[in-house]
């Protein structure tokens, strides 16, 4: 592309950003002659340049535009219709420029439609464009064109651009090139006369003298500066071990200059945030038309600077948020008047620096977030259970709007409500290491607050060491550092291959960072030894745990030492390392050595932590389970026992008794073990798969009753019974374990006893034959909590029932529609989406399952509740954990069925 043309495009695009802004201002203050002049000058320059460059279509259109603006300047009243016309024609010009940029030639077509309208408003006829046409009629050389453009600018603004002075000076000395001649030829007037025409009162805006610099040149400069910093550091290091003071003076000066230089280059990369905001007034103006709302956009802190890379990344999220504020946030004019608010809604955009971050706030004075709507939508999307919701603070509920697919807009408009919004915004902000939070008050408005790092190229990082190698962790994801005290390793507990760190009575999983770092030497050792030897020996005296946050997950990384925090220059990783997800880049440390930058996201991924809200199904399921455990406010008594090094717990209600049996009397039977117990054989299950070396002759066994026969669970030691409220965390994904909890200050696994049922049923049944049942009731169990479902599955199956378990009423109804038949339905009352009450009354309305007896599971009892239960159509109710009563009830039902049969 022609250099002149390229420059023209770059400049014009910039000018248009300014025009949009000015036109919006003009619409608001139609009488402000300064604004009219500014807009006029901008359009005039574009028109002139189009003429020189031989772009007739653009020239014609801009000319018609200029004429209308000229009339405004001369005192014609500015009204909404005419500004709309100017806006439209400017949009058309932009379109043409875009095409020009792609095709390098002006595209064919006509703009007579707009030109006619513009001319009719300005009352102008065709003749005016003739004066411009003569410019292009001359065959001119590029040099002359360039001078003409500069002179044209001079005429326009009354001054010559500093970078153009040279050109014009050259021209003056250029033989055969006469400035006056050019001026005359192009009809360029003398600047002073023109200025006086425009008006004396106009204040001169100080021009910012700037040079356009290629970004790559800046990047290169930045690289050289960081190299300089390193060299300086090496020199300082060198000097430290010398007595000689000869160099110390100059070296310190070098050091200062280097720091200033670095700062300077950093600054050169910064841009005022206002650059990213220029489009916004126009967007708000268009929105206000579209939505029929009066909106006033207030921008504060446009001069706040941040790195251009960050600036580019946040531009789209910002536009999205502004649109949201205008569409969702603000009420309509009538609503506002009815509420006694000023009819014009405010959207306030503000930016400022705070502690190494830039804070951007997008606020509106609208209706505020609707907690009720958000809650309903969250329930609908199964992000949360009703009971968990009841305990949530408003702020927590607001956060659901950052979930994928979330939208509370009643109807989908052009503006918003498609549910592809805030989650993407949130993701974009987090991808640059920023965060987003919000405040909202009903009737007063909502305020979104973005916290962004100033730059991505230089980030603060924590330098740590593992296995003799240093790594950098971005400071933004580090929440806390915990120093492991000497000999106080009980801070960390081991549950199988998972380590847990206790911090202020909470616990979080800890991984030894070295386990992720497959180095050459480790590979070597691994070849020779069993892989197991890599579990970090926790008996070392000291170490640090770096607590890291990724999305909603917190986890600890055990490292050998922590050095310091340093501002590091981030450099990308070679494409040879694309497959390694735990590193995000490299950096050169003060001593010149390269350190790898750890990527907390990648580490979380390789640890298998998936973000609950972001990863769909599985995440949602986990969240529901965790909430379900919370939901039961009743105390669940559990028995805690030990197997090898881990502590485990089982709900007491499932256990029949505790025994100590003689080890020698445990006999192998195929793959299993049995023990002669009360006239029959009892299968003995060893949780960890093998007989553990209990030194004494007696083996502690937990006995479970299975109707008339028994099952024994061999353990190493029975510890205690706990009766306290606990939370179950589902961080383990291991069969036979429901989750983890803290009991008596120890991390404890909750055993999923139903998991051991299959191996149980493999064993020949040694029951006494007096029950003599030939028919087993088919039972449908509906409970959203995995914990209870598994517990009842175990109880009921072992009592001889055929049980189908589902996690929701909807799933149960699906079974009905598929034609399944059950003898009894047991349902939890408190379930998300469709409660047990709704479920029962739904079933009672349709003939298919109308007459199947239903038993409600409740965690508490009151006369009102019992009435409600009966009213819904349940035939009976049982307290959760009252296994015996449930079995008894089911037996009654069964005998009736047998009788009927």
């Amino acid at each position: 592309m022609d250099d002149l043309l390229r420059e023209f495009l770059t400049e014009t695009f910039e000018a248009f950003e300014a025009i949009d802004l000015e036109l919006v201002n003009l619409e608001k203050n139609p009488d402000n002659s300064d604004i009219v002049n500014t807009v006029f000058r901008l359009v005039h320059t574009i028109k002139g340049t189009c003429g020189f460059l031989g772009l007739p279509r653009l020239e014609k259109l801009t000319h018609a535009n200029e004429t209308l603006l000229g009339k405004f300047r001369d005192g014609m009243p500015v009204d909404a219709a005419s500004t709309e016309l100017v806006f439209n024609s400017i949009d058309r010009i932009k379109l043409l420029l875009n095409e020009l940029e792609v095709n390098h030639v002006e595209s064919e077509g006509s703009d007579e439609d707009l030109i006619c309208k513009l001319n009719s408003v300005s009352g102008e006829s065709e003749h005016a464009s003739a004066s411009v046409a003569k410019i292009t009629a001359y065959p001119v050389d590029i040099f002359e064109k360039q001078i003409a453009i500069e002179l044209f600018r001079e005429e326009d603004t009354g001054e010559i651009r500093p970078e153009a002075e040279g050109t014009i000076e050259d021209a003056r000395s250029h033989a055969g090139c006469d400035i006056n001649h050019i001026k005359a030829r192009y009809d360029i007037k003398a600047p002073p006369a023109r200025l006086s025409e425009i008006g004396q009162k106009q204040e001169r805006v100080p021009r910012i003298h700037s040079v356009r610099v290629n970004v790559e040149a800046l990047e290169e400069l930045m690289e050289m500066v960081s190299e300089l910093v390193l060299t300086r550091n090496q020199l300082l290091e060198f000097l430290r071990f010398r007595e000689d003071l000869t160099f110390s003076g100059p070296l310190h000066r070098l050091s200062n200059i280097t720091a200033k230089l670095r700062e300077g280059v950093m600054k050169a990369r910064m841009q005022p945030i206002g650059n990213a905001w220029q489009k916004l007034p126009r967007i708000i103006r268009d929105l206000s038309r579209e939505l029929g709302k009066k909106i006033n956009l207030i921008m504060k802190g446009e001069e706040t600077e941040l790195d251009r890379q960050v600036l580019e990344l946040i531009q789209d999220p910002l536009i999205h948020m502004i649109r949201n504020s205008a569409d969702h946030g603000l009420e309509t004019e009538e609503e506002r008047i009815a509420l006694g608010k000023p009819e014009i809604g405010q959207v306030i955009l503000e930016a400022y620096h705070e502690g190494g971050y830039i804070i951007i706030s997008v606020a509106d004075d609208g209706r505020g977030l609707n907690t009720e709507k958000i809650s309903q939508q969250a329930l609908k999307l199964r992000l949360v259970t009703q009971s968990a919701l009841d305990e949530m603070s408003e702020n927590k509920i607001y956060k659901f709007i950052f979930s994928p697919g979330f939208s509370t807009a009643d109807s989908i408009s052009n503006v918003s409500g498609r549910g592809v919004g805030m989650d993407v915004v949130c993701e974009n902000i987090e991808s640059v290491g920023g965060s987003i939070s919000l405040k909202s008050a009903p009737g007063l408005g909502t305020d979104f607050i973005l916290k962004l790092p100033l730059t991505l190229t230089i980030i603060p990082a924590l330098i740590i060491e593992v296995m003799g190698q240093r790594f950098a962790i971005p400071q933004l994801s580090v929440i806390e550092l915990v120093r492991l005290k000497k000999g106080a390793l009980d801070q960390i507990e081991r549950v199988h291959d998972i380590f847990m760190l206790r911090v202020r009575e909470k616990f979080l999983p800890v991984s030894f960072l070295g386990d992720f770092l497959e180095t050459h030497s480790r590979k070597e050792v691994k070849k020779q030894k069993a892989p197991d030897c890599f579990l970090h020996p926790l008996n070392e005296d000291s170490g640090f745990v770096v607590i890291v946050q990724v999305g909603l997950h917190f986890f600890g990384l055990l490292v050998d030492s922590v050095f310091y925090t340093e501002e590091i220059v981030v450099k990308p990783l070679s494409s040879l390392f694309l497959d390694i997800q735990i590193f995000s880049g490299t950096t050169i440390l003060g001593d010149g050595k390269v350190a790898l930058i750890l990527d907390p996201n990648g580490i979380a991924q390789s640890l298998g932590y998936v973000d609950d809200l972001k990863k769909g199904e599985r995440g949602v399921h986990e969240a529901v389970v965790a909430d379900a455990a919370l939901e039961d406010k009743g105390v669940i008594p559990v028995l805690v026992f030990r197997v090898k090094a881990s502590f485990k717990a089982i709900p007491l209600s499932l256990i029949m008794r505790l025994e100590k049996i003689d080890k020698r009397e445990i006999e192998p039977l195929g793959a299993h073990h049995v023990f002669r117990y009360g006239g029959s054989f009892m299968p003995i299950i060893f949780i960890e798969g093998s007989v553990s070396p209990v030194s004494s002759r007696l083996q502690p066994v937990i006995v479970f009753r299975n109707e008339d026969h028994f099952m024994g669970l061999a353990v190493d030691q029975i510890m205690d019974i706990f009766e306290e409220r606990f939370e179950i965390h589902t961080v383990v994904d291991r069969p036979g374990v429901l989750g983890l909890t803290v009991l008596g200050g120890r991390v404890t696994e909750i055993v999923d006893i139903s998991y051991y049922l299959p191996s149980f049923s493999d064993v020949p049944v040694f029951s006494s034959s007096d029950s003599g049942l030939v028919y087993s009731s088919r039972i449908l169990l509906v409970d959203d909590s995995v914990f209870f479902r598994d517990m009842f599955l175990f109880s009921l199956r072992s009592a001889g029932f055929v049980v189908t378990a589902v996690e929701s009423a909807h799933k149960a109804i699906e079974l009905r529609d598929e034609g399944e038949i059950f003898d009894v339905i047991i349902s939890d009352l408190d379930m998300p989406v469709m409660s047990g009450f709704e479920f029962a009354s739904t079933l009672r309305k349709e003939p298919a399952w109308m007459n199947i007896p239903m038993i409600a599971l409740s965690s508490y009892s009151s006369p009102a509740l019992i009435e409600k239960i009966q009213h819904a159509g349940f035939s009976d109710y049982v307290m959760k954990f009252d296994r015996e009563r449930l079995v008894e009830l089911l037996r009654q039902q069964q005998s009736q069925i047998v009788k009927v049969a």
Binding site: Q469, S574, I588, V594, A595, L596
Partner: protein, 157 residues
């Protein structure tokens, strides 16, 4: 455009001759960014065996590839020694680590021999020519094809 694009077999051009486990290798000198002793190399955990690590030089990060390991030769006993020749490819910098530099030679067409069939098939992917010189077999490598082979093996893993 990267200078190493014209790094195919060329006669009448100065070549650097490098040694790795009794084999002689050659690169056209004009393709090189530099020759240096790799020190202070940072190992990259989880990377392929042939990658020795990364080091910083004049603000650039250079990935060092151990040619012995890459070519399937006997491992280098002293991992800290050796000499590296560096190249730029697609804006990234790479260093090939050999045992030592033997000499700088002007290779002429008379010494050219066609590429032989290799026992090790993968070699033929990046060896461009052979030269016989003073009773020695010199293997001329194409740095770009070598790097592409390297990248390919990473993506394939």
């Amino acid at each position: 455009m990267s200078p190493s694009l014209q790094c195919g077999p060329q006669v009448g051009v100065e070549h650097i001759i490098l040694l790795a486990d009794e084999h002689y290798f050659a690169f056209p000198i004009h393709c090189l960014q530099g020759v240096f002793i790799p020190s202070e190399v940072t190992e990259v955990p989880c990377a392929s065996d042939a990658i020795l690590g990364v080091l910083g030089q004049r603000g650039h990060i250079i990935t060092i590839i151990d040619m012995r390991s890459f070519l399937g030769l006997a491992p280098f006993t002293d991992s800290s020694a050796g000499v590296a020749v560096s190249f730029e490819h697609m804006g990234e910098f790479y260093g090939f680590r050999f045992d030592r530099v033997v000499e700088i030679l002007h290779l002429t067409s008379g010494e050219l021999a066609p590429a032989l069939e290799f026992e090790n098939q993968s070699w033929s992917k990046f060896v461009s020519r052979f030269y016989f010189l003073q009773e020695r077999l010199i293997i001329a490598l194409d740095p770009i094809r070598t790097l592409e082979r390297m990248l390919h093996s990473v993506i394939a893993v």
